[in-house]
């Protein structure tokens, strides 16, 4: 007997949606072994990482808080990824969006107008789009690799935020701490449940995911993005402009990342500080892949990756696990997912050798 590997004529739909669960399972099993090797009680560690955060109102509300930016950025990135447009600078676009909306909040500090928050959202989206337009321009005009430029710009954005909160935007009455004034009420998102940090941004995140699904399923540009990704030759033959798709992928994902940044500073943070994201822009890349680049899948994977953040914090408090475990889990999860893709595209068959049947 021997194993024979052959490509499937069409990818397996069932496996496409089943393999993410397989990847999660493999990650948990690996985590179990890892915790054991590190000398922790693996059952307790797994319990406090994946289960106990879901058993309290606080844990659930924090899950909503952290899932919001991941879902918003994830659905945006997925559009580009479908067409092989690799925006990996969402972290930077998020930061610029936060700066733009934060600047609006500070400019109208103390103002009670209902228009402050919408204006912040517009500023955040535009900020993110503007920042993403740099790699889009360099890619379409000169053919510069968007992976490298969007990533380099992330470092620049973080340093820019730092410049501002250590300088012009520093709270004059803040004892020289590197942070802006606290935003006033008109610049803050409402809290959904009293006593938690869950803000209306989570609800918007779900609406945005549905909107992107409609965009990708029912519009011409959505169709073009999918064709460019799946059949580049057909797309060229049909006359779809590659440059339009690049601009579209980068502007939409940049704008949404900027909006996510707006929600962070107008929601859980409430001011500008040197670090406003624990890597949401990078984690959202995993969220997009784990959700199979489908907005509805991304909602699920967004919640799961949010759990990896909260579980990491919780396991640190409860069993003293280092916080870095979160990053290891996130990387492992993407590894296993990519490995399991093999099953989607190839069929493994057990073949009996002729000699064996003869004997």
């Amino acid at each position: 007997m021997q194993l024979k590997i052959e490509p499937r004529r069409e990818i397996s739909r069932n496996l496409l949606y089943l393999t993410p669960f397989l990847a999660v399972l493999l990650t948990v099993v690996t985590g179990f072994v890892l915790f054991m090797l590190m000398g922790y009680d693996p059952f307790a560690a797994i319990y406090h990482f994946f289960v106990s955060p879901l058993l309290s109102l606080y844990g659930l509300s924090e899950l909503m808080v952290k899932a919001a930016p991941l879902i918003i950025i994830g659905v945006g990135l997925a559009i580009g990824f479908r067409a092989n447009v690799w925006n990996i600078g969402a972290e930077g676009q998020l930061t610029i969006g936060a700066i733009a909306s934060g600047a609006v909040a500070l400019a109208f500090w103390g103002d009670t107008g209902l228009w402050v928050l919408p204006l912040m959202c517009i500023a955040g989206v535009l900020g993110g789009m503007l920042y993403a337009s740099i790699p889009a321009f360099l890619k379409t005009r000169f053919g510069v690799n968007e992976i490298l430029t969007s990533l380099m710009l992330t470092y620049v954005a973080t340093l820019f935020l730092s410049t501002l909160v250590y300088g012009p935007l520093k709270d004059p009455a803040g004892f020289n701490f590197p942070q802006s004034r606290m935003f006033t009420d008109a610049a803050l998102l409402g809290v959904v449940f009293d006593g938690t940090r869950m803000h209306t941004g989570t609800i918007f995140a779900l609406l945005i995911a549905v909107a992107v699904w409609v965009l990708m399923t029912f519009t011409i540009i959505g169709f073009q993005v999918r064709v460019v990704g799946q059949a580049p030759a057909a797309a060229r033959f049909a006359g779809f402009s590659r440059n339009t798709i690049i601009w579209f992928g980068l502007l939409v994902s940049g704008g949404l990342a900027g909006l996510a940044g707006t929600f962070e500073v107008a929601g859980p943070i409430g001011q500008l500080i040197p670090v406003i994201t624990p890597g949401y822009g990078f984690t959202a890349i995993i969220v997009a892949f784990l959700g199979r680049l489908h907005p509805l899948g991304i909602i699920l994977s967004g919640f799961l990756m949010a759990l990896s953040y909260i579980g990491g914090e919780n396991a640190q408090v409860e069993v003293g696990l280092p916080q870095a475990v979160t990053g290891v889990f996130q990387g492992l999860l993407l590894f296993f997912l990519l490995a399991s893709d093999f099953l989607v595209r190839y069929r493994v068959r057990v073949v009996r050798l002729v000699t064996e049947t003869a004997s």
């Binding site: 360099l138 510069v144 890349i285 870095a324 475990v325 990053g327 290891v328 490995a339």
Partner: protein
């Protein structure tokens, strides 16, 4: 110390350039075989933490250097299993490798933050190293600095003059033809990927054992990505990688000196942006310049290959 400040500046440029040179040479070989590994940053971090942990634990920085190379090679092998054996998307897998490397190195390194290590010894030659200017510029570095130069020569010679180098280039330019005349495409690519990982690991080891020398989370600060950009900048040619690495080492040191000089009324963070902005600028100039179209990217770069039999 009798050296002028200019000599001291040049010395720091050399140490800022060396980690970039290692990582970019490794990635050059990987990409020449037709594989794009975006996980350089993750492999460098793994190399940095492994080298530091082993050097602190055993007291031997030499063992540390080996551990750094090994750690990078192991991560690269995992990348190979996914992209070469399982034909996974190279861009996504490279990103996964970076995210995993950042997390794993932070986890392993948690116990080593704030610890000092004996830096790699300088190879001083009595008499010669004491010569003015030449003495400290050419002699008196640690072994890794020399190794990075030797590696440049070796990579250039391998690609151009050896049979193995020719096969590597053939595999990167046309995997199907190379396969049909009987070369083991996947095997060659595995070796190229693992070599790239070991070199990234060495670059990381240099950072944590010689450049800083200490361990801090995400201490590579984007050097892995700059190394990737250097390969494009160099049009996949080893000597230009050397030139590019020293150019970027120069930019890094320049902004440090400008920050230190203080006379300028520019916030230090803005100065710190320089290496990243320079990377974007250089990539744009290379892509837009009159020599565009002659960039010489390997034809099969990033394309998965699975033999049909």
């Amino acid at each position: 110390m009798t050296d002028s400040s200019a000599v001291l500046v040049l010395l720091t440029v050399i140490s800022a350039a060396t980690p970039l040179l290692f990582a970019a040479l490794g990635e050059l070989i990987t990409e020449k075989s037709g594989v794009l590994n975006l996980g350089v940053e993750g492999m460098m971090l793994a190399g940095a933490v492994a080298a530091f942990a082993v050097a602190v634990t055993t007291g031997s920085s030499t063992l540390g250097v080996f551990a750094g190379a090994l750690a990078g090679a192991i991560l690269a092998f995992a990348f190979g299993v996914l992209t070469l054996t399982l034909a996974a998307n190279q861009v996504a897998t490279g990103l996964a490798l970076t995210i995993f490397g950042i997390g794993l190195s932070a986890l392993v390194g948690a116990g080593f933050v704030g610890i000092a290590v004996t830096p790699l010894p300088k190879l001083a030659i009595p008499g010669v190293s004491d010569l003015p200017v030449i003495g400290s510029l050419v002699f008196g570095h640690d072994a890794l600095v020399y190794l990075s130069i030797v590696a440049t020569v070796a990579v250039a010679w391998f690609l151009k003059k050896t049979r193995g180098g020719m096969i590597l280039r053939a595999v990167g330019e046309s995997d199907l033809s190379a396969h049909s005349i009987g070369y083991d495409v996947i095997g060659v690519r595995y070796r190229a990927v693992v070599f790239g990982g070991a070199m990234s690991g060495l670059g990381g080891a240099f950072l944590s054992l010689a450049y800083t020398p200490m361990w801090a989370e995400e201490m590579t600060a984007g050097r892995g990505w700059i190394a990737l950009a250097l390969v494009v900048f160099a049009s996949w040619r080893p000597w230009r990688v050397l030139f590019g690495a020293y150019l970027f080492g120069g930019v890094t040191i320049l902004q440090l000196y400008l920050q230190g000089a203080g006379g300028l009324d520019i916030p230090s963070q803005v100065m710190s942006m320089l290496p990243y902005l320079a990377t974007i600028l250089v990539l744009t100039v290379i892509a837009a310049g009159p020599w565009k179209g002659r960039l010489d990217a390997p034809a099969c770069l990033g394309r998965p290959f699975r033999p049909s039999t």
